[in-house]
């Protein structure tokens, strides 16, 4: 059941109505929301309900076991078992085929060809999201950051709550579980903000992401050698905007839907395409995943505590895992590694410039006698938005690895890009409006949506309904026919 469909609209109206009639009876409300969440998930493939149930059981039991076990060794054993169990489920369904194929290719390359059995495993939708939520729950209990839940309903609903179940955001137990045990509240601000987020999310997905996919991205990435360098260059940027609108659109709708049911999710994107450095971009892109990796991988690896070389190594490991999280393919691993290497390069360069600048200032070295690096830094600092231009282009061009089906497509893509042919075929004015308009919208004030929500709040319910209806109608009318599934469903 996709968000931008009539099915979901009817489903949500029913859930909204019934859940609020149960707002006085918390356990019954939770049971109802759990039931509809399982129905929502089973709508794709009911067979995977057992997997969702098993994942929830593992984490619930691990949480209980941790609450009874006070010995350090015992707690370590429990948390390790729970993490291994979670990762085993994820590994089997998501990575088994990839590892078997990779091993088989290595064996063939060294002349040890073997027939390794391949299983045709269907990837359960949302598995990466609910697995990471389960792991964070168990680790947080192990670290004594949260208390384990006694009521299984709480944990089962936390893992399966339908707005974030299939494509995030990855909600933290410490943020969500306390909300389940207080009477839900709804204010007029929340209602108007929730409606606006849903509308913005639908516009991003149905209009921008869908058109960019069908007008340029899908064609260019399926046959890069058939297009000019100009088309290839802008198709990479179009893909970045497409995936941003697709995924942040989903997050906006999820946050809006949860808000209308009385629950608060943290924001998952914060205008990342306006970032003027890669570090800033990664602090604003898929925030729930990057903060998860920071808290449960980068910091346990001792982050930057053991010197620069350790920090650089940990950055690459973390970004490589981020790549692998997105998909079981070498293209994703290379993409993640490249992000890590670029982050290292950026940090090194900034640190070096800062250091040399300090030394030069202390010794009052005139500009003409300063190092070439300092002189270059002074030159580029005069170019308006230099950091933003470099960041956006680096992110867009490396995203070719993310989108391409395989490495041969990547090489064809970059080969075509370096031919410097300038005849646009699919990079039309319409596509240019979508790309540049979406990027320009990233520079708006973060308060813009809140201000619009305040205006919407003042409308009477009937007027607000007409506004909502017309906005939905406009999105439906200007969007292309049919809605493709969200890209992040496959992760």
């Amino acid at each position: 059941m996709l968000f931008p469909t009539l099915e979901f609209g009817l489903f949500f109206m029913l859930v909204f109505g019934i859940s609020w009639t149960l707002s006085d009876r918390l356990d019954l409300r939770k049971l109802f929301l759990l039931g509809v969440s399982y129905f929502f998930y089973g709508f794709w493939d009911w067979r995977f309900l057992a997997l969702l149930f098993a994942s929830s059981c593992i984490n619930y039991l691990a949480g209980l076991a941790l609450s009874y076990e006070r010995r350090s060794a015992g707690r370590k054993w429990i948390v390790a078992t729970a993490i291994v169990a979670n990762l085993a489920i994820l590994g089997f369904f998501k990575y088994f085929g990839f590892f078997v194929t990779s091993i088989s290719e290595v064996l063939v390359a060294v002349g040890l060809a073997r027939d390794i059995p391949l299983l045709n495993i269907i990837l359960p939708i949302g598995i990466s999201f609910f697995t990471f939520q389960g792991i964070s729950y168990v680790i947080d209990i192990y670290r004594d950051d949260i208390k384990p839940v006694r009521n299984p309903l709480d944990l089962f609903l936390y893992i399966s709550f339908f707005p974030q179940l299939v494509a995030g955001p990855i909600v933290r137990a410490s943020d969500f579980l306390p909300q389940l045990n207080v009477r839900p509240k709804l204010t007029s601000e929340t209602v108007s903000f929730g409606f606006l987020l849903i509308l913005v999310g639908l516009f991003k997905k149905v209009v921008v992401a869908s058109y960019l996919a069908t007008e340029i991205v899908d064609d260019v990435f399926s046959m890069p050698d058939a297009y000019s360098s100009l088309d290839l260059y802008f198709a990479a940027h179009a893909f970045v905007v497409q995936i941003y609108c697709d995924f942040s659109g989903y997050s906006d709708i999820a946050i809006g839907v949860a808000a209308l049911l009385g629950y608060t999710f943290k924001k998952n994107f914060d205008r990342p395409l306006s970032a003027s450095s890669l570090q800033e971009l990664w602090q604003r892109w898929h925030i729930s995943l990057t903060s998860w990796l920071r808290d449960y991988l980068y910091r346990p690896l001792k982050g930057a505590k053991r010197g620069k070389s350790h920090m650089y190594r940990n950055l690459v490991i973390t970004m490589m895992v981020a790549g692998l999280w997105h998909g079981a393919a070498w293209t994703f691993i290379i993409w993640g590694t490249l992000q890590g290497l670029m982050l290292i390069g950026e940090r090194w360069l900034k640190g070096e410039v800062r250091q040399q600048q300090r030394d030069a200032d202390e010794n009052a070295v005139p500009m003409s006698e300063r190092s070439p690096l300092l002189r270059a830094a002074a030159q580029v600092s005069r170019i308006p938005m230099f950091g933003w231009i470099v960041t956006l282009n680096a992110f867009a061009l490396t995203s070719v690895f993310f989108r391409a089906a395989d490495l041969s497509t990547v090489s064809a893509y970059f080969y075509g890009l370096l031919q410097f042919t300038m005849s646009p075929e699919v990079f039309t004015p319409f596509v240019a409006i979508l790309i540049f308009g979406s990027i320009a919208a990233q520079f708006r004030s973060p308060e813009t949506l809140v201000q619009y929500a305040r205006t919407l709040r003042k409308l009477k319910p009937m007027t607000a309904g007409v506004f909502m209806g017309l906005a939905l109608l406009t999105i439906e009318m200007i969007g292309p026919d049919g809605v493709a599934p969200f890209i992040y469903f496959q992760f």
Binding site: M13, L186, E425, P461, L470
Partner: protein, 124 residues
């Protein structure tokens, strides 16, 4: 030192809770009405979407009936002129999608045209 109002008793707390409950109820009512009105707007102006949706459902006696009802509804909306704006907007969007860069077609296909000309000359 007294850090809180000694007269803030259970009554004050319950009054606050009652206010929150009333606000929640009012907001739920507000959101519910807005959703129903929005659905009515969509049913009126996007009757073709409803028609498509019913036709994509698995066929059985009930859904066959829904298809008939959706067809009747769409015909009524079309007669009243409510289905027209959708077609007009979609035509406008299709036209915007077709816009080329100034001189773009000639520049982009210049090589192809030259090649075609050469082929024609050779044929003659």
């Amino acid at each position: 030192m007294i850090t809180s109002d000694p007269f803030e008793t259970d009554d004050v707390a319950s009054l606050k809770e009652r206010k929150e409950t009333e606000e929640t109820l009012a907001s739920v009512r507000h959101a519910g009405i807005a959703m129903v009105v929005a659905a009515a707007v969509l049913l009126t102006f996007n009757s073709a979407g409803l028609q498509t949706w019913t036709r994509n459902l698995d066929g059985n006696t009930m859904t066959d009936r829904w298809v008939t009802e959706a067809d009747n509804w769409h015909n009524l909306m079309a007669r009243l002129g409510f289905a027209g704006p959708k077609d007009a907007v979609q035509t406008a969007i299709a036209e915007i999608r077709e816009i080329e860069w100034p001189g773009g077609v000639d520049a982009a296909h210049a090589d192809e045209v030259d090649l075609d000309d050469e082929v024609d000359v050779d044929a003659q």
